[in-house]
């Protein structure tokens, strides 16, 4: 019984939140890693693209709610997602056309492209503020829980309970679907193979008749779709606040680097590694320890939650120190 209670507590406070957070990070890191693989720079505007995309999804959601369109128990934002993705992809393609293409043609050093992405970050940030403001926004509607702590307790008869939020389940399902589709696309389709070829060896890909602009366009579209999905799921799970989306850039980068920049599978693994370490390190383990028969005096919390970014940073540093190409062997050092 005690073991079961410990397990349920663990599920409720560590495993489920970390899994959904990890899935959101994974989607974000996939975008970073794809852009790195094809365009060969770290996109600092990624976090703010996420914010802008989510802001657009929220706007469309509000419009749909006003028209009385909904999905019943599921959040309306899911229906608004395709519109948000389309708008964001259009914006991102615009930035590529106006900003990045010039440096790509000139074959500028990656750090110049990083700098340009900082400029794009500023503009995207300003646009997000202009469109939706800086306040915290909750836009989840429909059912909140699949089952609540109380339901679970009554059903199982345990002292501890766990809940499963709709947003958590949605996050996991949507992420699984996205990963399946992406890896299938990269592995099987002609366009996906072209992308991988371009990422491996640009010159050889050009010789084989691959249109680089097409590959780049495709990359931006896929990356923005992934990041808008990640942002919307994160917003449904927690809440939308533009500044938080800027801050999530660090764990996303950490996830992408842990997995090896340019390696999509690594990005997914990296997302979960970062999320699980973050939650595990900032969770007070007292309750679980008590169920396991220990009598700790303190909370057994390794770090207070304000320092969760320190966790992604430490992981980043450890990887840079011992394995700069990432766990899954990314592109370059």
């Amino acid at each position: 019984m005690e073991i079961l209670n410990a397990l349920v507590t663990l599920m409720n406070f560590v495993v489920l939140p970390a899994a959904s957070y990890g899935a959101q990070l994974a989607l974000g890191a996939l975008g970073v890693t794809l852009i790195y693989g094809i365009l060969r720079f770290s996109n600092f505007a990624h976090g703010d693209t996420m914010a802008l995309g989510t802001a657009l999804v929220i706007l469309v959601t509000w419009g749909m709610q006003a028209l009385g369109i909904g999905l019943g128990p599921l959040p309306t934002a899911l229906l608004a997602l395709p519109f948000g993705i389309a708008l964001t992809a259009a914006f991102v393609l615009g930035t590529d056309r106006v900003v990045y293409r010039f440096y790509r043609r000139k074959r500028s050093e990656p750090i110049i492209l990083v700098m340009a992405s900082v400029g794009v970050m500023f503009i995207t940030n300003g646009l997000t503020r202009l469109i939706i403001g800086v306040d915290e926004i909750r836009f989840d509607d429909g059912a909140r829980f699949l089952f609540t702590v109380r339901d679970f307790r009554e059903w199982s008869g345990l002292a501890e309970g766990m809940s499963l939020r709709v947003s958590q389940l949605l996050t996991l399902l949507v992420t699984a679907l996205c990963c399946w589709a992406l890896f299938r696309f990269l592995g099987r389709s002609r366009a996906g193979k072209a992308m991988r070829a371009y990422s491996d060896n640009e010159d050889l890909a050009l010789l084989s008749g691959i249109d680089p602009e097409r590959v780049v366009r495709l990359t931006w579209i896929i990356a923005s779709a992934l990041v808008v999905i990640a942002g919307t799921l994160y917003g449904l799970d927690k809440s939308f606040k533009a500044f938080n989306y800027f801050q999530i850039l660090l764990p996303i980068f950490a996830a992408a680097i842990v997995g090896g920049l340019g390696n999509p599978l690594g990005a997914v693994a990296g997302g979960f590694i970062v999320a699980f370490s973050e939650v595990a390190v900032t969770y007070p383990w007292k309750k679980v320890a008590e169920y396991l028969g220990f009598q700790p005096q303190e909370l057994l919390q390794l770090l207070s939650t304000e320092y969760k970014f320190a966790v992604s940073f430490t992981i980043l540093i450890v990887v840079l120190l011992f394995r700069p190409t990432g766990l899954f062997r990314g592109k370059s050092v």
């Binding site: 770290s42 500028s108 340009a116 500023f122 300003g126 207070s304 540093i317 840079l320």
Partner: protein, 446 residues
């Protein structure tokens, strides 16, 4: 980078002319009162003072980017660390705080540091199967010992008179002494980050510094025993007299009357002028040192490394070491600026350290001014700071003009209300335009 730095010589009059325009802007701010300018010398000098401090920050970033091509995305963190120095060096000691847990905190920090050093030693010396377990054992034991020492001490310090203090307090030394200390703090942090992230791909330094920046600010926000966190430390001592003192001095009032000013305005202006003199002295000294260094063999080597790392390495230069050196020096300058800024404000408010404002705005200053050129960085810093402050006034004015034909309604109100956010868009545009069409900035490198 070599392709953006081909020198087509700019007119030698360019820099003096631009500085003249800048001076005219400040003169207009001080004298004319209309929709664009405030007409108050107090305001103009306040902008100038922060502009001068921004110029010091820009010099630091310029050393890293302009001399060496290193992208520091954590300027805000080094700035905040520098800002901690005035609090620890110059505030009055807090009664009872040291007795409550001072030595124990220091011991805990030493243990923490020692753990890391020991871990590094273990990793370097040991070989074979014992390596990883030994490393983990050192880290885990070190962490437990650290927390055992650290937690009770912090609780004791924070409980000590928590309403008005609750922090460890300072040494009560003169505030000017805290400036070099701020530089040292930032340099130490930069050494740690640089040691790890330099020598790898150039983006990695950017990402690592982005992380350290966020963490330093988080530490300042949460470690109340150190910086009082969100409760702020106010009332820092000043290197210049207080306005009130001046207003109470008969001598000063008489002199103010001589100039035809009321004592309140005159005292404000006088204090700000003193600050401006102090900051200008620091700035000029730094520029002098930087220019001398740039013209020395060391400076030539730096530029050689920046322009072609491979060639420089082939010539036997240790690129990573030189990068670490310049990264530490540049961060020290940023730390110095942080200490100066907190001295000017007289207040440490950890919540105000926003990366957009203190990292990326400084970057725009350097890029616009002309990376690689110290005078360019200074010009860019003061100009962009002036525009940043004035955009707060000009943005809504412009928006009112644009939306004037629109009917009153929620859209117009929304646009008017969000006009202040236009600053970010404007700044991003400026950065992108300069990067693309004038990559060498307003005052290009010679």
């Amino acid at each position: 980078m070599s392709n953006t730095r081909q020198a087509d010589t700019a007119s030698p009059w360019r820099a003096p002319l631009l500085f003249l325009i800048l001076a005219a802007l400040f003169f207009a701010e001080g004298t004319f009162r209309n929709a664009l300018f405030s007409g108050s010398w107090n305001t103009a000098l306040a902008i100038l003072n922060m502009g001068l401090i921004s110029a010091v920050m820009a010099l630091g970033v310029n050393m890293q980017w302009g001399y060496a091509g290193l992208f520091n995305a954590g300027v805000v963190g080094f700035l905040a660390l520098g800002g901690l120095a005035p609090v620890l060096v110059s505030t009055a000691p807090v009664e009872g705080a040291w007795q409550a847990g001072g030595p124990r905190v220091i011991l805990a920090l030493l243990v923490g540091l020692g753990t890391l050093v020991l871990a590094a030693l273990v990793w370097k010396r040991l070989r074979g199967a014992m390596r990883v377990p030994a490393l983990l054992a050192v880290l885990v034991l070190g962490f437990i010992l650290y927390r055992f020492l650290f937690d009770p001490a912090v609780i004791a310090i924070e409980a000590n008179n928590s309403a008005s203090a609750g922090n460890i307090g300072g040494l009560g030394w003169p505030i000017l002494l805290s400036w070099p200390v701020g530089a040292l703090f930032a340099a130490a942090a930069a050494w740690g980050v640089g040691k790890v992230a330099l020598g790898l791909r150039s983006d990695y330094l950017a990402i690592a510094t982005l992380g350290i920046g966020e963490i330093i600010v988080a530490v300042m926000r949460n470690e109340e025993w150190l910086s009082r966190g969100v409760k702020n430390v106010s009332g820092l001592p000043r290197p210049v007299p207080y306005e009130l003192e001046l207003q109470n001095s008969a001598d000063f009032v008489a002199r103010a009357a001589n100039w035809g000013m009321d004592p309140a305005t005159a005292s404000g202006i006088w204090v700000k002028l003193l600050y401006a003199g102090l900051f200008t002295a620091v700035l000029l000294l730094l520029i002098l040192l930087a220019e001398l260094a740039l013209k020395s063999p060391w400076g030539r080597m730096m530029r050689a490394i920046r322009d072609n790392e491979t060639a420089a390495a082939a010539m036997g230069k240790d690129v990573t070491r030189r990068h670490l050196q310049i990264f530490v020096i540049g961060s020290a300058v940023i730390g110095l600026a942080g200490a100066m800024m907190i001295t000017l404000d007289g207040l440490l408010s950890p919540n105000s350290f926003n990366p957009l404002r203190y990292t990326f705005l400084i970057w725009v200053m350097v890029i616009v001014g002309g990376s690689g050129n110290n005078w360019g960085a200074v010009l860019g810093a003061i100009l962009i700071w002036f525009l940043w402050i004035k955009a707060e006034v000009w943005g809504p004015e412009l928006m009112r003009l644009i939306t004037a034909p629109m009917p009153d309604g929620s859209l117009r109100n929304h646009l008017l209300g969000s006009a202040p956010h236009m600053r970010f868009i404007a700044l991003g545009l400026v950065l992108l335009l300069v990067l693309r069409f004038a990559p060498r900035g307003l005052v290009p490198e010679k």
